[in-house]
Structure formats: structure tokens, C-alpha cells
């Protein structure tokens, strides 16, 4: 039995070695995607294009404008000498944020009243807009507090009653600098292996069927179970290899830390690979041509990718979609990867995800083997 599996294994690797473009398709997409995600995918908000019109032209208003200009969050892109210029800049997308310090700003401040600061935001990208608005609030808020404190001290109004102030000190755990790369690169391990392994497995069998070599294999003394093992084992090894490439590249090039236990990640990866192999096998049982396999893959992989929480939080999805995510093996694997990478936790914390992934993988694999067994007989 082992010998027959070995020969099938050898055949698969020989095929891969002789197909140069298939080898390239194994290597280039992961590296390309990693570079793109590493450099292009970012949720951070710095240097937002801003125009400021200081109508008040006083010491107070200039100090506030300076606070904005000197923060790394906003960047002055164009001078504005009237309100119209601010609106035009936002309308034409020259600036994403327009700030107007209205006339009488300092007068109100000096009287101890509320001085309004007018802010115009381009909401086209709602996420950036929301974060930018938060920074506007922080900068103007801290300016106001400082000013009030200063005013109170100068006028002696604080005598007898202290100014009261509660501050929030944030500490970001697991990713202290809020580096988006640390979020995306480990996640890529999951999505890339999913796409590669499902594709490889599905095509390997469908191609044999389409070209007609499947029948040739079936007339050999090989047993269906040996066939399945011989067909999936090479892809399992390739999957591990792919994970290693992404992990090493991510750590050396993008300097993503790995805090956890590699063995825990290894266990999760093996379980996950099992379900990707199962999905590939399942697809191969319903497709007769490679073209059908290609579109079926797309229809299966795309929802799995979107529902996994790879880039968009599952908790923000509608309830019906949230339920669907429980059927997505990638969902559990991503939690395992990110937790081992960034949090450094082990099985004591991750056992629910491991158990769910194992149950899902084993049942998928059982169904796949049964179906394939039937279609081979």
C-alpha cells in the first residue's frame, strides 16, 4: 500500500516539477499579495489633507491652528482666505478636512464661553472621516482644556475650587503602535493557503478526469483510499511549505513579531489544511471540466474569504451573516493565527477554536472522501 501511495506522490511532484508556469503560480501570488497587503493595506490615518481658514486672526486662533499643523495627523495642503475656498477645497477633493476658526472665536474664549470651531469633512471614505473627526475633537478638546485652565489661573477664578478633569490613558495591547501590517500579514497565511490548496486539489483531480488519465489510474491496482491519500498528501506538504514562506517573509521583511508557540500554530495549520483539502476534493466531485472547477472555486472561496473576518470585523456584520461565519473554517484559523502571533496565547485559550476547526475539518473530509469514493467506483 505504502509503495503505491509513494508512486502516486512521486508522480504528482514530477508533474509539478515539469510545469514551470504552475510552479510560478504557486510562488508569485503569495509574495505579490504579501507585498501589496504589507504596503498598501492600511487603516492608519496620518497627514490628512486639510485646509484651515483662520477668520479670527488672533493669538488664540493662531495657537489652535498651530496645534493642528504640528500634529502628525493633519497636513495643511492649501491656503484659504475665505469660507468659499475651504468649501471648494473639500468639494474638489483637494482636502478631506476643512476647518474654519470663525470671527469672535477668541472673544468667546476669553469670556469663558463656548467658542465654536467649524469643521467640514468629506465623508466619502467614512472610515477615514470618522477617525479624522476623532482627532479634530482631541486636538481642539485638549486646546480648550489648556486654555480654560490657563485662563482660570490668570484670573484667579480657581481660588477655592480646583479644576476637575478626568483623563483616559489608552494602552494598546498586542500591537502598541497600531501597525496595520501586524493585522494583515498573519491573516494572509490563512487566506493564501486556502486559495492555493483548494485550487491545486480541485484541479489535480478534475484535470485527470478531463484529460482521461483518471481511468488509467483506476485500472491500476491502486485502491480508492490510496488514491485519495496519494492525491492529497503532496498538497498538504505544499500547503505547509506555503505557510512557511509567508511566515518567514512576514517576520524577516515586515518584522511582524511571533510571540506564541510554533507548535500550536502548526497544529492549527494542519487542521486547517485538512479542511482546504476536503473542500478541494468536494469541488472536484461536482465538476467535469477545469473551467467549471475554476468558477466553482470562485463561488466557494470568495464567500469564505469575506466571511472570515480577514479584514472586516465579523461583529459588524448582520446577524444572518454572523451565523454563516461559524461554518467557515478560515474564521477559526484566523483567530488561531492572530492569537499565536500577536497575543502569544496557547491551547488553554485557543481550545474552543481548535475544537471547532477539528470538528469542521474532519466532517468535511469524511464527506469528501465518501463522495469521491463513490465517484471513483
Amino acid at each position: 500500500m505504502l509503495q503505491r501511495i509513494y508512486h502516486l506522490l512521486l508522480k504528482e511532484f514530477l508533474q509539478l516539477r515539469r510545469d514551470k508556469s504552475a510552479r510560478l503560480r504557486l510562488l508569485v501570488p503569495p509574495i505579490l499579495q504579501m507585498l501589496l497587503f504589507g504596503y498598501a493595506a492600511t487603516f492608519e490615518v496620518f497627514n490628512v489633507a486639510t485646509v484651515i481658514f483662520d477668520q479670527d486672526q488672533t493669538q488664540e486662533s493662531r495657537a489652535l491652528v498651530a496645534d493642528f499643523v504640528h500634529s502628525s495627523r493633519f497636513k495643511l495642503v492649501a491656503p484659504a482666505s475665505d469660507r468659499r475656498a475651504v468649501q471648494d477645497a473639500v468639494e474638489s477633493s483637494t482636502a478631506q478636512v476643512g476647518i474654519v476658526v470663525p470671527e469672535g472665536f477668541s472673544e468667546l474664549l476669553r469670556k469663558g464661553q463656548t467658542a465654536p470651531l467649524q469643521v467640514l469633512v468629506d465623508g466619502t471614505n467614512s472610515n477615514t472621516a470618522l477617525i479624522a473627526l476623532g482627532y479634530v475633537g482631541q486636538i481642539s478638546g485638549s486646546y480648550g482644556q489648556r486654555y480654560a485652565l490657563d485662563l482660570a489661573q490668570r484670573t484667579g477664578r480657581t481660588l477655592g475650587r480646583p479644576m476637575v478633569n478626568v483623563q483616559l490613558r489608552e494602552r494598546y495591547w498586542y500591537n502598541p503602535n497600531l501597525n496595520s501590517r501586524w493585522f494583515f500579514i498573519p491573516g494572509l497565511i490563512g487566506t493564501l493557503t486556502l486559495i492555493t490548496i483548494v485550487n491545486l486539489t480541485a484541479f489535480a483531480i478534475v484535470r485527470e478526469r478531463e484529460v482521461g488519465t483518471l481511468e488509467q489510474i483506476l485500472v491500476t491496482p491502486i485502491q480508492p483510499i490510496e488514491f485519495i491519500i496519494g492525491k492529497t498528501l503532496p498538497f498538504f506538504l505544499i500547503g505547509l511549505f506555503e505557510v512557511a514562506i509567508v511566515a518567514v517573509f512576514g517576520m524577516l521583511w515586515f518584522e511582524v513579531p511571533f510571540k506564541g508557540n510554533p507548535l500550536v500554530l502548526m497544529l492549527g495549520t494542519s487542521l486547517f489544511l485538512l479542511s482546504t483539502l476536503a473542500i478541494g476534493l468536494l469541488i472536484s466531485t461536482v465538476c467535469k471540466t477545469q473551467q467549471q472547477a475554476f468558477s466553482s472555486n470562485f463561488f466557494v472561496l470568495n464567500p469564505m474569504f469575506i466571511l472570515s473576518g480577514f479584514s472586516f470585523p465579523i461583529s459588524s456584520m448582520p446577524d444572518a451573516l454572523q451565523w454563516l461565519t461559524y461554518l467557515d473554517p478560515l474564521r477559526y484559523f484566523l483567530v488561531i493565527i492572530r492569537a499565536t502571533y500577536l497575543k502569544g496565547v496557547g491551547l488553554d485559550v485557543l481550545w474552543p477554536q481548535m475544537a471547532a476547526l477539528a470538528a469542521l475539518s474532519l466532517s468535511l473530509f469524511a464527506v469528501a472522501v465518501l463522495r469521491l469514493h463513490k465517484s471513483l467506483d
Binding site: F43, P116, V166, N302
Partner: protein, 378 residues
């Protein structure tokens, strides 16, 4: 160029599409699937962030602050931790994303020195949620701070004119309620067009090679340009139908405002579709296997349109080198146009530059694709 020959290819290709209903159904299902999945699945609006509180003081003042967090729609209080280790465990296993730690001397320092410090521990594995959560948390604390200040002043018999010396009065344009769906959906239209266009056209020539009908095709008097037109026109029509489906879903189902004009939408969509069809065709000519061609075409159109077009990640936040690369991504221009048309209702004049770039892009791609096909067998 003879129209008769174009027509012959066109009829042949159309027949092939009609007689392969499975592929046609897939081409029409992709927009539906994508629009629903991405429309519902992609949301960056954060609400009900799971929160736990570790109140080391347990005074009235500190519990008031905890209650403020519990009442906020952005947080949902999962429970109060009894010790520091429990806070760490809750963050470790993801039961909460944010932990508020109130020190044991909170109200004492607040009364004596007028300063209170509250600690927020955030799970930053998801950086975007973490920074949004930090923003909401500081708003809650600021509200609490003002209330405490007001009470303290009143207790001392004073009156106060204002608690917020500077008040931000923000107006948001174009996407007034800051709904992330309004910003995602126009981009999804571009993504769907990229996927469909590349999928459809990447097979046309590779299929002839794989089925062995290439020799036949070469022996006919058809010219490369005629072949391309005849091959791509039917898919152009399928693509435009897909675009209509997307637009209808976006406007009527997802209620994304559409403030532009339909002719502008149709024209620019036609341009973008031309670009992706030509990319697919070019790949199909160069790679002679159907599967290889569709994989490469998808990689060339879908990946850049997802990541480098500004569809979900803002271009101006990318490193300068990557920003330069985005100029050769056709999706960049189309997404700019779509966002302008959907949300801004921008007039032609404002979109002139991206439209020009896209037109130029389409012309170059047509030429490249037409020249790629040679009537030789090797």
C-alpha cells in the same frame, strides 16, 4: 477591417455563450453574489464593542463612570473583572476588546488634586477597531469629566458658563451619516466589473487553443483587430448587463445615493469594461491554457482593484512608492469616478482628469490586445 468578418466571429462567439448556459448564469450570478456578500459583509461601522471593567475602587464615582460606558451604544459591558489577571484573560481570549481600569484612589485624587486617570486597555490585534474604540472611549470619559466638573463647581457655590471651551461643529459632506456601506458599494461595482470582465475574456482565445480550433481560425481571412472585436463585443454586452444589475442593487436594495447622471455612469463603465476585457484578452492570447489564463487575468485585475484603487484603503495613506504604482491601476480612475458619481454628484468637469486617463488607458489596452494576437501556430 470588414464588418462582415467581425459579424461572423461575433455570431459564433454569441452562440457559444448561449449554448453554455452554465457560464452565462455564472457571469450573471457573480454580481449578485458579490454585491450581497460585500454589501453586507464589509462594514467598518463599529458598535457594541465588548467591554469589561475593572473597578478597583468600587465607589459611587467610579461606578458612575462604568455605567456611562454600559449606556453607550458603542460598548456592551460584558462584566466586571475582580482582578488584574482576569482583565488579561478576558483580553487574551477575546471575550472583550476593551478593558477599563479605574485605580483604587480614583475619587480621592479626583477630589484632592482634581485629576483622575482612567486606564483603557485595548486589544489592538484589529487595529482599526482598536483606534475607533479608543475614540469612543475618550468621548465617554470626556462626557463624564464635564459632568464631574459641573458638580464640583456647583458644590462650591459657583456657576459656570461653559464646560467645553472649544466646541467642534462638524458637517460631513457627501456621506452625511458616515455609513461605510455608502463608501464600499461604489467600489464593489468596480470590483465586480473587474472580475466579470477578466473571467469572461480570458477564456476566449485559450479555449480555441485547448480545443484545437485555433488552426481553423487562423486559416480564415479574419484580421487580428476583427477577431478581437468579434470576440469581445458579446462579452461587452454581458458586462454591461452586469453593470446594470450592480447599479440597480446599489440604488434600490442598498439605498446608496446616486447623484450623478446615467450617461456618465454608462460611458465610464464602458471604458473600464473595455480595459479589463482587453487585459483578459491579452492574457488569453499569451497563456494558452484556460485555467492559467483565467487565474492570471483575475490576479491582474481583481487584486489591484481590491487593494490599489482606493476602494477600501485610502491611497493617500500608502507609502509614496506604492502611490506611484496606483497610477497604472485602471481601477483607481474608475473608483474615483464612481465615488464622484454616486456620492458627490460631481459634474463632468470635475471628473475630466480621471475620465481622460481611463480613456487613454482603454485606447492603449485595445492596441496592445489587438497586436498581441498573431496568426501563427507557434
Amino acid at each position: 477591417m470588414r464588418w462582415r468578418r467581425v459579424k461572423a466571429i461575433l455570431v459564433k462567439e454569441s452562440l457559444q455563450i448561449v449554448r453554455d448556459p452554465r457560464s452565462l448564469v455564472i457571469a450573471l450570478l457573480i454580481p449578485l453574489l458579490q454585491m450581497f456578500l460585500l454589501g453586507y459583509g464589509i462594514s467598518l461601522d463599529v458598535k457594541q464593542i465588548p467591554l469589561c471593567a475593572y473597578d478597583r475602587e468600587g465607589s459611587q464615582a467610579s461606578q458612575e463612570l462604568v455605567q456611562r460606558f454600559a449606556a453607550s451604544p458603542y460598548f456592551s459591558l460584558q462584566g466586571q473583572a475582580a482582578n488584574y489577571a482576569e482583565v488579561g484573560r478576558n483580553l487574551d481570549n477575546g471575550r472583550c476588546r476593551l478593558a477599563i481600569v479605574i485605580p483604587a484612589d480614583f475619587s480621592r485624587t479626583l477630589n484632592d488634586a482634581g485629576q483622575g486617570v482612567v486606564q483603557a486597555l485595548l486589544d489592538a490585534t484589529d487595529t482599526n477597531t482598536a483606534s475607533l474604540a479608543a475614540g469612543y472611549a475618550s468621548a465617554v470619559v470626556a462626557g463624564y469629566s464635564s459632568a464631574v466638573q459641573l458638580k464640583s463647581i456647583e458644590r462650591h457655590g459657583g456657576s459656570v458658563q461653559t464646560l467645553t471651551p472649544v466646541e467642534v461643529r462638524a458637517r460631513v459632506w457627501f456621506n452625511e451619516d458616515l455609513v461605510s456601506r455608502n463608501f464600499i458599494i461604489p467600489g464593489v461595482v468596480a470590483l465586480v466589473m473587474a472580475i466579470v470582465g477578466a473571467q469572461l475574456s480570458s477564456l476566449t482565445i485559450a479555449r480555441e487553443w485547448e480545443r484545437g480550433t485555433m488552426e481553423l481560425l487562423i486559416s480564415t481571412p479574419v484580421k487580428p483587430m476583427e477577431l478581437m472585436l468579434g470576440k469581445l463585443l458579446p462579452y461587452f454586452i454581458v458586462g454591461m448587463i452586469d453593470a446594470c444589475i450592480c447599479l440597480a442593487l446599489a440604488v434600490f436594495w442598498f439605498q446608496v445615493p446616486f447623484r450623478g447622471t446615467l450617461p456618465a455612469m454608462a460611458f465610464t463603465t464602458g471604458l473600464f469594461l473595455t480595459v479589463v476585457l482587453c487585459i483578459g484578452y491579452y492574457v488569453s492570447v499569451s497563456i494558452r491554457s484556460q485555467v492559467g489564463a483565467s487565474q492570471v487575468a483575475l490576479l491582474l485585475t481583481m487584486l489591484p482593484t481590491t487593494l490599489l484603487s482606493g476602494f477600501s484603503f485610502p491611497i493617500d495613506q500608502m507609502p509614496p512608492a506604492v502611490q506611484t504604482v496606483t497610477y497604472v491601476v485602471s481601477g483607481r480612475y474608475y473608483v474615483t469616478i464612481l465615488k464622484g458619481l454616486f456620492l458627490k454628484g460631481a459634474p463632468w468637469t470635475e471628473l475630466l482628469l480621471p475620465i481622460l486617463c481611463l480613456t487613454l488607458y482603454a485606447l492603449v489596452m485595445i492596441l496592445l490586445a489587438a497586436r498581441a494576437f498573431r496568426k501563427t501556430l507557434d
